[in-house]
């Protein structure tokens, strides 16, 4: 498998891109090796993805990379103990709860602001009458539905 590394997913907390060249074995499809490496104090996390060159990175890989990065930050916080450990252990829970609340909030906002158009129903009825009148004169059968 012959591969060259393309710039993959990056984080601004000290990301490095690794350059890897793997000698060709004569296979006909070029593959690409994408890697993102995240450095935070005490922790390195990497996400690797090998995929055929004609595909873009799958969406799920982006999400996994994001989760891995967040986990790396969390683990490093545990190590360096800036925040008391009891709080740090609960951080993922807080994150999920916040995400849930955000989702509910967005649903609520969307529901309140849901655009409605009652006047369109009236305009539609007028259009229907106009259409029926015209089509009747042209001999199209627009009898009851």
């Amino acid at each position: 498998m012959f591969g060259t590394l393309r710039k993959g997913f990056e984080f601004h907390l000290g990301t490095e891109i690794i350059n890897i060249r793997i000698p060709s074995d004569g296979s006909r499809i070029d593959h690409e090796l994408e890697a993102s490496m995240i450095h935070v104090p005490f922790v390195s996390a990497s996400v690797f993805c090998i995929h055929p060159r004609n595909d873009e990175m799958k969406h799920i890989v982006k999400i996994m990379a994001l989760l891995v990065a967040l986990s790396a930050i969390w683990i490093s916080l545990l190590q360096i103990s800036v925040i008391p450990d009891s709080y740090t252990w609960l951080l993922p829970l807080y994150f999920i709860i916040t995400l849930g609340c955000y989702g509910l909030f967005m649903v609520g906002i969307g529901l309140m602001q849901f655009p409605t158009c009652p006047q369109e129903a009236i305009l539609l009825q007028q259009d229907i009458i106009e259409a029926k009148d015209f089509l009747k004169t042209k001999g199209v059968d627009v009898g009851s539905d």
């Binding site: 529901l111 158009c117 369109e120 129903a121 001999g139 199209v140 627009v142």
Partner: protein, 244 residues
């Protein structure tokens, strides 16, 4: 700029309308399309799935009025699904742009000029109608329906990052080559199919623009939104999450 001018003068729009038991609505839709698209080169392709109510007879009468080169009737023997209906219509489309819309008048042809205008202004590959922005809207939905729609939308936005505000809408304008490319890679059924099309197109990097549309739901009460629909939706969401 010159390319856009050339495209403007040679643009032809194939409007694919899948029908099943739309005897009255198809006549109304055809009238409204002709009313709002005067001066534009287009054709209407009616893909009827063997309607027992005589939809095809009405289409033949409409062909007498408007001309057989403007209204193409390309029926199929029985209900075979929406995705295949589009593919079937696509085979007979002679335009370089394709519009897909519903036949039950929930999509009003008066928005067609705004789709065309948006496409010409931006050179987009896909223009999709959205019911969820200002200028668009919905009528005939009760609170429960709005809630599920909004919830589904937030879920999809959070996990899929689709780049459009209305994922399940089916009122869209595609460049013909783009539709052919996207439709060949989609496998879902029903409204998940609409979601899959727009998400795949977004992943492939096609330029997608949005236009506000209004959606008048005339099928009060029989709007099928039970538990199985929700399960279908969630399964579709997971499928799209892992395969696009």
């Amino acid at each position: 700029m010159e390319n856009q001018q050339k495209e403007k003068s040679s643009a032809k729009y194939s409007i694919i309308v899948p029908t099943y038991n739309e005897r009255l609505n198809i006549a109304l839709i055809v009238y409204l399309i002709f009313k709002h698209l005067s001066g534009i080169d287009f054709e209407i392709i009616v893909v009827d799935d063997g309607s027992p109510d005589g939809t095809q007879d009405i289409v033949k009468q409409l062909q007498q009025v408007y001309g057989e080169d403007c209204i193409l009737l390309r029926p199929r023997p029985k209900k075979l699904g929406l995705g295949t209906a589009y593919m079937h219509g696509l085979k007979h489309a002679s335009g370089n742009f394709v519009v897909i819309m519903d036949a039950d008048l929930s999509h009003h042809p008066k928005y067609l000029p705004s789709f065309i205008k948006k496409q010409m202004e931006t050179g987009a590959s896909i223009v999709t109608g959205t019911r969820y922005v200002k200028g668009g809207g919905v009528h005939g939905w009760n609170l429960m329906r709005k809630l599920t729609s909004r919830g589904a939308n937030v879920l999809a936005q959070t996990f899929l990052w689709p780049g459009v505000s209305d994922l399940t809408g089916s009122f869209r304008l595609y460049r013909k080559s783009v539709l052919e490319d996207v439709i060949s890679s989609c496998v879902s059924k029903g409204y998940v199919f609409q979601m899959e099309m727009i998400v795949r197109a977004s992943r492939k990097g096609y330029h997608i623009e949005e236009v506000p549309i209004t959606f008048v739901d005339r099928v009060y009460g029989s709007s099928k939104l039970g538990g199985s629909e929700i399960v279908e939706y969630l399964k579709g969401l997971l499928y799209l999450l892992f395969t696009t």
